[in-house]
């Protein structure tokens, strides 16, 4: 009785199935796969086969969940060798989930110098750090990262793989998920485990009005990208993180995209989704140069600088900084709106800030309706004074 069937006409002899097999039961003969008796019918090859040439009769296999273990988090690093906030947030969430599933939590890092992350990883409760070290992985490249990660996933078969909803995560995760033929839930704001042990992936849709609960019951790994800034860790007891280094073989990858240059133009003022304080400016700022007043205030507070769409349209700030319906939705501890009238589309992006201070010379500006403290006056007089006062107390602030 045949339980795994390979269609030699569909097969393109790419050899992916051989690489994907966790038990080494596939060997290639003239490029065509042959399956040996040690096959466990896990289906990793069928999931991976780009041609759909492999059919596995899973009725006789254990469920696909069996044999998949571990929660993985694809972690990213920012300059100065720090773990990005979203990576830390997801790790803590993974730790929380692991108490329900009994899985290990593994951070996966591509590129050089990942070992320096160990300290932060231990604080977030990671059991393992898998390092994919290869000179080719220094700069993010979709094709190379996909290959490296898919190989590692195929080899170790995690239950769950989570990514930050960052520009890298949102580019990489769908490519990896499609190669593995598994599901991917985008931009989750909460995670849970259901009675069957499935990962429940909760995400806002339809412009944030509706929360959808999504599961991926029959394929593994279960994959999701996570919205930055929403999963606040519960404070983990530090653990020892074991480091394992993998040298990924990327020589066979046909790289069709070349990264010519990577430009970091964003200052520390542009991390809107992670900031506790956002100082935002609108049309009332008058010029790009005047935003320096806001940067100075943000600097004392360790915060970020936001902008209204009008300020972005004027070219004073880049779109990265825009807050509102067509920009970022933020909910910092403190939002300081300077020279922003408070159009509905702007309010939609910042109404959930814990505290709001508005500075505007028009007493009738709608921004005052959502402000805890509204100051009617000229921002150019008031903002530098606030900065000055806070600077006098610099010791206090820097102890935060």
């Amino acid at each position: 009785m045949k339980r795994i069937d390979i269609d030699s006409e569909l097969c393109s002899r790419c050899g992916l199935c051989e690489k994907s097999c966790p038990v080494g039961a596939i060997t290639l003969h003239d490029g065509l796969p042959a399956v040996e008796a040690s096959c466990t019918l896990c289906g990793a090859c069928a999931d991976l086969c780009p041609e759909g040439a492999i059919a596995v009769d899973r009725s006789q296999a254990e469920t696909t969940q069996a044999g998949h273990k571990g929660i993985w988090v694809f972690v990213e690093r920012e300059e100065h060798d720090e773990l990005t906030s979203v990576s830390a947030e997801i790790l803590c969430e993974a730790r929380r989930l692991s108490r329900r599933t009994g899985d290990d939590v593994t951070a996966v890092f591509c590129g050089a110098g990942g070992a320096e992350l160990r300290g932060s990883l231990e604080c977030c409760g990671a059991d393992n750090l898998f390092l994919l070290e290869n000179a080719q992985l220094e700069v993010y490249n979709t094709e190379l990262y996909t290959e490296a990660l898919v190989n590692l996933i195929a080899r170790h078969r995690p239950q769950i793989v989570l990514f930050g909803g960052t520009s890298t995560g949102r580019d990489l995760a769908p490519r990896v998920a499609a190669r593995l033929r598994t599901g991917l839930t985008a931009d989750c704001t909460a995670l849970d485990i259901d009675a069957e042990g499935n990962l429940v992936q909760i995400r806002p849709t339809y412009g944030g009005e509706i929360l959808a609960h999504i599961i991926c019951p029959h394929r593994r790994p279960q994959m999701a990208t996570i919205r930055p800034g929403v999963m606040k860790g519960t404070g983990e007891a530090p653990r020892k993180t074991r480091i394992q280094v993998f040298d990924s073989d990327l020589i066979s990858v046909r790289v069709r995209t070349r990264i010519l240059e990577e430009i970091k133009e964003l200052s520390r003022f542009s991390r809107l989704s992670e900031a506790d304080v956002i100082v935002s400016g609108g049309k009332g700022m008058g010029s790009a140069e005047n935003f320096k007043f806001l940067e100075e205030l943000a600097d004392v507070l360790g915060g970020a600088v936001g902008a209204s769409r009008s300020a972005v349209d004027e070219g004073w700030m880049t779109h990265h900084h825009q807050v509102g319906q067509t920009g970022k939705t933020v909910s910092p501890k403190l939002y300081i709106a300077c020279g922003i009238s408070g159009a509905l589309q702007h309010l939609m992006g910042m109404q959930d800030s814990k505290r709001i201070i508005a500075i505007n010379r028009d007493a009738g500006a709608p921004i005052f309706k959502v402000a805890d403290l509204g100051i009617v006056g000229d921002l150019f007089e008031i903002v530098p004074k606030i900065t000055g006062l806070l600077r006098e107390n610099k010791g206090v602030l820097s102890s935060r």
């Binding site: 949102r170 990577e262 964003l266 005052f368 959502v370 806070l390």
Partner: protein, 296 residues
């Protein structure tokens, strides 16, 4: 140059409501439109055609009415429209959608595929990269600038990709999938809709693949539940028929914003105003003890 632009017909988000008794979407009275982000992809394709020649084909998978969105792209100046529509495709997640679209596009033929950055309904941004994987071609997402280069008898694309911290300059071989960000260009207004222009409509049979790769069967993810978001304080409501006339008028007057209780508005000398602000800053960041009201 044969450019394919993928577009989705999406419900206008402001119309979407959930029936709280059944937790299902209310479909009546919901108007659907061309996904706003896709207009940028259509515009970019038209600009490439204007500079380099070629043709622009619009591809959409969706219900028969999606034909309206395709027609508005034709009215912008696209050459051809293709609609993939079949009841067996409903319930597709991004994997099944991308698989079906990639099969469809493969049959039509292409040199370059353009997508929007995401949709306004489920906004995953996954369809572009997943299609690229199925077609085994490169992808570049979040493109804010796109140029084509000729050399050695080949065309390549030189793009600027927006990242969280800046941008990357990338050169990619074609064919490729490129997803463009809002703001890469300013989409033109569509001309007159011409209901006579044919839109080629095909069903799942056209894809020539096993049915278990499509629709629900081909979708690893399942939406098990949908619940309305409980806003902390519901500051915005949709002005709809369920509200009384008085409520509607009040909402129109205020824009639906509830004034914050306990708000203080001050109009005083810059010095003292700045002190009040510094106090509140201290308090918001839990610095009350260490920052006594020394500012007064």
């Amino acid at each position: 140059m044969k450019i394919i632009v993928c577009v989705k017909h999406v419900p206008r988000t402001q119309d979407v409501r959930i029936d709280s008794s059944t937790n299902t979407l209310v479909r009546e009275g919901v108007e659907s439109v061309l996904n706003p982000f896709d207009e940028f992809a259509v515009e970019e394709a038209l600009r490439i055609r204007e500079r380099f020649g070629g043709e622009v084909g619009i591809v959409s998978m969706g219900p028969p009415q999606a034909d309206q969105s395709i027609r508005s792209c034709l009215a912008m100046g696209a050459d051809r429209g293709y609609l993939l529509s079949d009841t067996c495709l409903s319930g597709s997640d991004t994997l099944a959608t991308s698989f079906a679209l990639s099969r469809m596009i493969e049959k039509i033929g292409f040199d370059l595929i353009l997508c929007g950055q995401e949709t306004t309904d489920s906004s995953t941004g996954q369809v572009g990269p997943e299609m690229a994987e199925f077609l085994n071609i490169p992808q570049v997402t979040c493109v804010m600038k796109l140029d084509l280069l000729y050399g050695d008898g080949k065309t390549t694309a030189s793009v600027k990709r927006e990242t969280d911290t800046g941008y990357q300059l990338i050169e990619t071989a074609l064919p490729a999938v490129i997803t463009v960000v809002k703001g890469i260009n300013k989409p033109r207004e569509p001309g007159k809709l011409d209901s006579q222009r044919p839109v080629v409509r095909v069903d799942a049979g056209f894809l020539g693949c096993q049915p278990d790769k499509l629709g629900m069967d081909g979708s690893p993810t399942q939406v098990v539940k949908m619940v309305p978001v409980r806003h902390r304080s519901r500051q915005y409501a949709i002005v709809d028929g369920s509200l009384s006339a008085a409520q509607r008028i009040s909402m129109l007057m205020t824009g639906g914003i509830k004034e914050k209780a306990g708000a203080t508005k001050v109009r005083e000398e810059p010095e003292s105003a700045a002190c009040k602000a510094a106090d509140l800053i201290g308090e918001s960041l839990a610095l009350t003890q260490v920052m006594p009201s020394k500012y007064h």
